[in-house]
Structure formats: structure tokens, C-alpha cells
Amino acid sequence: MDLLKLISDIEQVDPEVYERLDSRRRVFRHVSGMGKTLGAAALPGFMSMLFNKAYGQGSATTLPAPVADVLNLALQLEYLEYHFYAIGLGSGTLISAADRPAITAIRNDESGHVKVLRGALRTQAFSASDPTAAAFDYTAGNRFNAVFSNAAMFYAVAQSFEDLGVRAYKGAAPKLLANKTLVETAFRIHSVEARHASHIRTLRRGKAAGVEGPAAAQTPALASNLAERPKSWVSETDSGGPAAPFTAPIYGAGTPAVGVASQIYFPAEDNYIQNGATTLTGSAATPEIDSSAASEAFDEGLNENKVKDIALFFRSAQGAALGLFQ
């Protein structure tokens, strides 16, 4: 009986068998060393132990604290976004007919993300019940008082949330590496947030030029006014974002801001040094890839504490009582 062939066969019906075994690495190493030499008599008991460990419920349902922490921050950001879009959709003519399908789709995506993250966290979620809209202050302390009556302001805040979300998931992803299901989940949410960010930016270009719907996508970005007519991706630091200087930290550096190639660090969005090497090509006089293109080609991550510092501006007293973004 070839144990590894058996595992290979099991893989036909359970593609995650290696993952199940791999997450119990000590058991796994035991198999690698002994699989082919175990006596026939010892094998059944050994097999039983092995697969009980791989498939048993055990304590595997409790996530390590750093994992639960990053998932809870993600969950709180999803609530922040969900209620923002839900209030927007309920605010009279704030969202035009041309934009309602998109904002409805985004709100629904955020709701799905709440479901997925709660499903992963279960009893480790920061709160047993859902925070309501009252947990958030979308004026950010009277900075955006017209956020639910002025469309330009609403979409400026929307872009801020989406771009922040992209950076937050990116910063968190390395902490989820040991759990293949969770890292995959984070990536699959992360790319949807990036799609949202892209669309909101496209929509804002159109609004700034006085058009909406398909004409928005036909509106060029203005390098001289990236705050109001941004590209659908982050160019340099977008001049501080849609509401500089308040939104500048969303595009700025995190902590640590510098590091060496093999480390995880969080430079500002205008970074063009990747893995220790410049991504600029050509000469200063005749660039092929200039600093704008090079910075646009990579989105940068942001560390948890920096994300929380920014999100705290959007927390109400009730949200503080719930411990949001702490």
C-alpha cells in the first residue's frame, strides 16, 4: 500500500487534501518520512490518526488573533461602505438614474463581503450584531456636511473609501498566507474593491466634465486636475486625492514606509521602486516609462494602523462605543 498514492487518489475527490494535511505540518512531515516504510500492521491505525487530524473538527475553527484582527478590520470597512451606499441610494435624487445600477451593484457587493467575512470570523467577529448607519459619521467631523445631498462630494468620499479598501486588503493579505482559503477570499474581495474604485473614478471624470453614463467612460482624465478628473487608477498620489489635504493619507505612505526587497512595506502610491529596482525606463529627456506610468502600474498596500487612523474620522460616538477601527 502506497500511502502517497492513496493521498493522491483522495485528491481526486477532495482537491484540498494537501492543504488539510499541510496545515498540520508535523503530521505531514511524519508521513513524508515514514509513508513507504510503515509496517502493514501499523498502517491502519496510523492512517486513522492522520485523517482524523486532517478532517476532524478539533480546534481548527479558531482563527489566530492576527488573522481575526485583519478580518475584523476588513469587516468594519465593509460596514462603513455598505451603509454609505445604502444611505446614498435612499437620498432622493443624489444618485442619478444613470448611476443607480452601479451604486446598487456596489452596495450589494459590500453586503456580500459582510456575509463572507462574518462567515469566516463567526464567533470571533468584533460584534455579534450588525453596526447600523448610526455607528458612522460620513461627514467626517463636519468636513463633508453635504455628502448625501451633493453628488460630487458623495462620489469623492466613495472614491476615498474604495481606494482605501484596496490598500487595506493588500496590506492585510500577507497575514492570511497560512490559510489558503482566507487568502483566496481576501484576493477575491480585493479585486472587486479595485473594480469599484475604477468605476467611481470613471464616473467622477464624467461628472467633472458634466456628463454621465457611457459618456463618462469617454471622458479623458486631466493630468492637471487628477483630484476631480482622475484616471481609473492611482497616478502618483493623485495630488492628494479627491479632497486634499484631508484625503492625502489615503494615497500616502504607511508604516514602515521603506524596506528591502524581501520585506512587506508601505510606500506612498507614487512609488516606482519595486523589489529594490526602479521600474522607470528611457531617459529623463525621452522617457519610455515615466514616473506617472510606473506609479500607476502598481497599487501600494497600507498597514492596519494607518487604515484605522483614516477610518476613525468616519466613526460616530456610537461607533466608538462599539470599538470600531480600534
Binding site: L4, K5, S8, Y18, D22, R29, E78, Y79, Y82, H83, A86, A102, N108, S111, G112, K115, V116, D130, Y169, A173, P174, L177, K180, T181, T185, F187, R188, H190, S191, V192, E193, A194, R195, S198, H199, R201, T202, G213, P214, A216, A217, Q218, P220, S232, W233, A261, S262, Q274, N275, T279, T281, E288, I289, A293, A294, E296, A297, F298, D299, G301
Partner: protein
């Protein structure tokens, strides 16, 4: 120059001559810092196929390998084809006919060509920095695309520029999302994350050009359908649909010439 991309024309865009290294474990370990995928390699080496002394893939195809190096090779191949596409379309009548100023589509396709070129060269630097032998040249085949047409109807004999751009951008995102589970190195994971969100931004904009408000449509996202006003109550997840390496390569290989096709037998 005569347009070499007309239907039935003899010329094709210059094939992209970018090396894609097969599994080069030593190099990978340098990059990955001797990480934990040794265990996975040990298992792979003991599979049925190996026991039978059968080669895992035909020799004409390039096998990307396993673990972090395999994933980087794999996403590098996707990126190579995508980058070659944005370079090739510039010779077509559609792109050439775009106004040189105040054209969103000109601006977008210029940007995408640059971004994808940066990505391609960056991945190349990660997977093959010091390679001097064993390189596999990948040659693209875009004969199924129509670079003279902006957009073709579904089911058309050849895809237009925006149809193909949408395909390659969505495919790039689905490929990364479907391969992160094979990574063991946090820096490699972080690198993929930095690039995939830019590709997702590209994909959303191209989709909005093709059909406005389709940036998170049901073909790319497992759309969440709420059953109440309570967040999280409803069907679906709001997560992007992923594609396994096998699913991605079935599509990607149609844009690679015979002898340049890719397999990912170990990324399963």
C-alpha cells in the same frame, strides 16, 4: 508601412521574444528564501505520474513548475500575452484612427500598454533575472483578433480590440485570484496583490467602455442578491470569480503558437 493586420494579410505583429523560465528551483529559492513548498514538491515527486516515469507534459510545452516559482512563471506568461496584445493593437486601424488629443480611448490604451509592459518586465526580472540557459521563447498568435475593429458582436469570427482587452484583463485578475493559494512567500503574494488590483481597475474601465455599468457584472463577480435590508442577508458573495490555472491556460494557449503553449500540471 503597409498594414500587416488586415484579415488574411501575411504579416503578423512581431512575436514577443520574452524568455519564460521553466521551473528553476535554485533561483526560486533565492527569491522565495527557502520556503515551505519543499514539502509540496516532495509530494508532487511521488505522484502516480512520476512513478510511471512518464513526463508530466509534452516536451513542446512549457511547464511552469510548482510553488512560488510556478505561480510567478504562470502569471508572467499571462502578462506576456497581455502586454504583447497592447503592443500589437497599436499597428491596427482602430488604434491608429483614434484622435491624438482629447480621446479617452487613446489615453487609456496608451496607459495600458505602458502598465502591462512594466508588469511584464517586472515579472521577467523576478523569474529569469540571471538565466542563461534553458529559456523557452514564447511566441504569441493573435490571428483570432481583429485589430481594425473597436468592438465586435458576440459570436463574431474574430474579436475586436475592446473585446480582447476585456478578455485579457479579466483573465489576468482571475488567474492571480486562482493561483494565490499556491504561494508560500509573503513578498511574492504582496507583489501579486500590487499588480492584480491595477489589472482589476483596467478590467472595470474596459468593461465600462464596452458596456457601461458592467464593471462587476455576473460573469466576473459572484453577485450578491440581497433578501433584506440587513447587510449580509442574501444569496451570493460579492467575490470575484476565479479561474484555475488549467482554466486560464485553456484560454491563454489559444493566443500562443504551437511550441509556445504553457502547462501548469503542478498548480492543482
Amino acid at each position: 508601412m503597409p498594414n500587416s493586420l488586415l484579415p488574411g494579410g501575411s504579416g503578423l505583429p512581431q512575436p514577443e521574444q520574452t524568455p519564460l523560465t521553466p521551473l528553476k528551483r535554485r533561483q526560486f529559492l533565492q527569491y522565495a528564501g527557502a520556503s515551505a513548498s519543499v514539502a509540496a514538491l516532495a509530494l508532487a515527486g511521488c505522484s502516480k505520474k512520476d512513478d510511471d516515469n512518464q513526463p508530466i507534459t509534452p516536451v513542446t510545452n512549457t511547464e511552469v513548475g510548482s510553488g512560488d516559482a510556478g505561480v510567478l512563471n504562470y502569471v508572467s506568461a499571462v502578462k506576456l500575452v497581455t502586454s504583447a496584445f497592447y503592443t500589437a493593437l497599436r499597428e491596427g486601424n482602430y488604434f491608429k484612427g483614434l484622435p491624438t488629443s482629447n480621446s479617452a480611448e487613446k489615453q487609456i490604451l496608451d496607459d495600458l500598454e505602458k502598465h502591462e509592459s512594466v508588469h511584464k518586465n517586472y515579472y521577467k526580472s523576478l523569474v529569469g533575472a540571471n538565466s542563461t540557459s534553458g529559456l523557452k521563447q514564447l511566441e504569441t498568435d493573435f490571428t483570432s483578433l481583429d485589430f481594425n475593429t473597436r468592438l465586435t458582436a458576440p459570436g463574431a469570427a474574430r474579436m475586436g480590440v475592446l473585446n480582447a482587452a476585456m478578455l485579457f484583463e479579466d483573465l489576468s485578475v482571475a488567474a492571480v485570484n486562482g493561483s494565490v493559494r499556491f504561494l508560500t512567500n509573503p513578498a511574492a503574494l504582496f507583489t501579486l496583490a500590487k499588480i492584480v488590483s491595477v489589472d482589476a481597475r483596467h478590467a472595470a474601465l474596459i468593461r465600462d467602455l464596452v458596456s457601461y455599468n458592467s464593471f462587476v457584472a455576473t460573469d466576473v463577480v459572484d453577485v450578491f442578491v440581497p433578501s433584506s435590508t440587513t447587510p449580509g442577508e442574501g444569496d451570493g458573495t460579492g467575490m470575484e470569480r476565479l479561474k484555475t490555472p488549467t482554466e486560464v491556460l485553456t484560454i491563454l494557449n489559444t493566443y500562443l503558437k504551437e511550441g509556445s503553449k504553457i502547462t501548469a500540471a503542478l498548480l492543482v
